[in-house]
């Protein structure tokens, strides 16, 4: 505090900008969520978030100016889309289902194979992917620098001209505001919602030793962020984590997805090959495909139809309507 005060006298202008605008507090997180680990060079500020939002919805980021981030990451589907495969997948490494982006601030490694170490770095991928925005960061920087409104916003947000640093940092800042922690499940934890009998039975199944769902889908975000082969396929055209590690033992492993808002993020699995949650539960009930690298936790589950309905009812308590309809995420 004392240091800050002294420093303030030294360089008033700079520190006012720092102190007033840049603070972790710009992102509101529920009490039962952990702190966000922000990168040092990209703490949030109002100006940074609003610049990121502007970019997220702007097709100027694509070569032919027809595709924006929001073309595939749509707010009411928790920033996923309804297609099995987006017209492309990042990094030119095969087609994948567009990932929901809620609580992306907590993701330790990005993409379903964990190929990207941080959110800021991830952004180059869709912009330069031929099947997505088919553009180029270098060209984009030149194009966007000509826009005086963007230049003004860049200076306000980061105190520098519009460049690749600003584009990637601002988008990451906007996406880190996608905090979803106000579902019926969360409200029930705070005693503000009472589960129905079916939901309660479903919850017991989910956290129980038979279905073992919560061994992988664990923690506040319903994922342990590990990579697992859950036997969703007999043959994996997309070998997942093995593409990054080149290891046989990682064949068909994908990052365990968060199950929050899963009611609206279908179709499911890395390639969107499961149309409904029911299809997903059927697969777990069968004990997966029996793929040679399937995780031993995935075993045949003896479910009655009623129990399956209960599990489904529980999964739906993870839907956060206030997040899906949040106006501050919209254009």
């Amino acid at each position: 505090m004392l240091i800050a005060l002294f420093a303030c006298g030294e360089n008033r202008e700079f520190l006012q900008y720092e102190a007033q605008d840049v603070s972790a507090n710009w992102i509101k997180i529920p009490d039962h969520f952990p702190e966000i680990d922000f990168p040092e060079d990209n703490l949030p500020s109002k100006a940074r978030i609003s610049l990121g939002k502007q970019l997220f919805y702007d097709p100027i980021l694509s070569l032919d100016k027809t595709v924006s981030c929001a073309s595939c990451h749509i707010p009411q589907y928790s920033f996923s889309d309804t297609l099995a495969l987006s017209s492309g997948a990042h990094g030119g490494i095969g087609q994948r289902n567009a990932t929901a982006l809620h609580n992306v601030a907590y993701v330790p490694r990005f993409f379903k194979d964990g190929g990207i170490p941080n959110l800021e770095l991830q952004i180059k991928a869709p912009i330069e992917d031929q099947l997505e925005m088919n553009y180029n960061m270098h060209e984009l920087t030149i194009r966007i620098s000509r826009d005086s409104a963007y230049q003004r916003m860049a200076r306000e947000a980061y105190g520098r001209d519009m460049d690749a640093f600003v584009i990637t940092r601002a988008l990451a800042n906007f996406m880190r505001t996608f905090i979803s922690g106000n579902s019926r499940y969360d409200l029930a934890q705070e005693g503000k919602y009472g589960f129905t009998e079916a939901e309660k039975r479903g919850m017991d199944l989910f956290f129980g030793d038979d279905a073992k769902c919560s061994t992988c889908h664990s923690g506040f975000n319903f994922t342990d962020n590990s990579y697992a082969n859950n036997g969703s396929h007999q043959v994996y055209a997309d070998t997942g984590r093995a593409r990054i590690t080149l290891k046989h033992m990682d064949h068909g492993k994908f990052r365990v997805p968060t199950l929050r808002n899963c009611e609206v993020t279908g179709p499911y699995m890395h390639d969107g090959s499961y149309r409904t949650l029911n299809d997903v539960l059927d697969s777990y009930q069968r004990g997966g495909s029996g793929h040679w690298n399937q995780d031993p936790l995935i075993e045949k589950i003896v479910f009655s139809n009623e129990e399956k309905e209960d599990l489904l009812a529980f999964l739906k308590t993870l839907t956060d309507d206030s997040f899906l309809t949040n106006e501050s995420f919209r254009k």
């Binding site: 990042h90 990094g91 030119g92 490494i93 993409f111 190929g115 990207i116 170490p117 941080n118 800021e120 770095l121 991830q122 952004i123 180059k124 991928a125 912009i127 330069e128 992917d129 180029n136 960061m137 270098h138 060209e139 920087t141 030149i142 460049d163 690749a164 640093f165 584009i167 990637t168 940092r169 593409r243 990054i244 080149l246």
Partner: protein
């Protein structure tokens, strides 16, 4: 463009230093007046000069042409005859393509430079840093066409694209292409030291002339058979190319 403007600034500063020195001839610091070092590149395919969309022949008699030839050169410094460092420039990277002719390597006190240390690619620490932190126009910043995969694999160390007459009918039929995009930490290669033996003279520009031979990338590779790798999808071919990196740069 950038290279041009940098060299003008360089010359300007040097001129002032020279005159400044003359005014006070007893000043011992005069002997410390630096000299400028330029690297100059001649781009070749074998013994012919490099040109895009021009026919060359690989080691197996296949006709081919380039339409893209981009790569990263790291000049890590100079060492003397006893391997003692003379100049350390660990983070000096150049994105080389056939349009790059002369680049400034900085200003140094007069001495004789002996062995140039170099590598093709980007070292494993830098390779996993965010390219977006570099300013527009710098070698490690964003390039067009891109020299980065946008994911953890990092930079594309070399991107060679073109046509190859695979069926030997004399034409480049549709689809008769080669595409070699090499990267990942395991393909980074240091070249053998180049014995330049060049004196840096006070107030002057010493030019180190280098040849880039693009045919060496394909040494021992039959382009009719092995013509596509994006590294991960054909690691074997990628390694074969990487093993040729050390032959690509020579003294002029």
């Amino acid at each position: 463009m950038k290279i041009f403007s940098t060299s003008i600034i360089g010359t300007f500063i040097l001129t002032i230093a020279f005159f400044g020195c003359k005014k006070d001839e007893e000043n011992p610091t005069c002997t410390q007046e630096p000299g400028k070092v330029d690297l100059s590149f001649t781009h070749l395919v074998g013994t012919e000069s490099f040109a895009f969309n021009t026919d060359y022949t690989d080691d197996f008699g296949n006709k081919y042409q380039f339409f893209r030839a981009d790569w990263y050169l790291r000049v890590s410094g100079f060492v003397d005859q006893d391997s003692n460092p003379q100049i350390v420039s660990d983070s000096y990277y150049l994105k080389i393509d056939p349009s790059v002719t002369t680049v400034n390597y900085g200003e140094y006190s007069p001495m004789t430079l002996y062995n140039l240390q170099w590598a093709v690619g980007v070292d494993s620490v830098t390779n996993h840093m965010d390219p977006n932190i570099h300013e527009l126009g710098s070698a490690l910043g964003n390039q067009s066409p891109s020299m980065h995969w946008g994911w953890s694999s990092g930079y594309i160390f070399c991107a060679l694209d073109g046509r190859v007459d695979i069926n030997g009918n004399g034409n480049y039929d549709p689809g008769e292409l080669f595409s070699m995009h090499i990267g990942m930490d395991t393909t980074y290669r240091e070249g053998p030291n180049l014995y330049v033996n060049k004196a840096i003279a006070a107030g002057e520009t010493s030019v180190i002339s280098l040849d880039v031979d693009y045919s060496e990338f394909f040494d021992g590779i039959n382009l009719a058979i092995d013509n596509s790798t994006h590294t991960m999808d054909n690691m074997h071919l990628a390694q074969n190319l990487a093993n040729n990196f050390e032959k690509v740069l020579k003294l002029h």
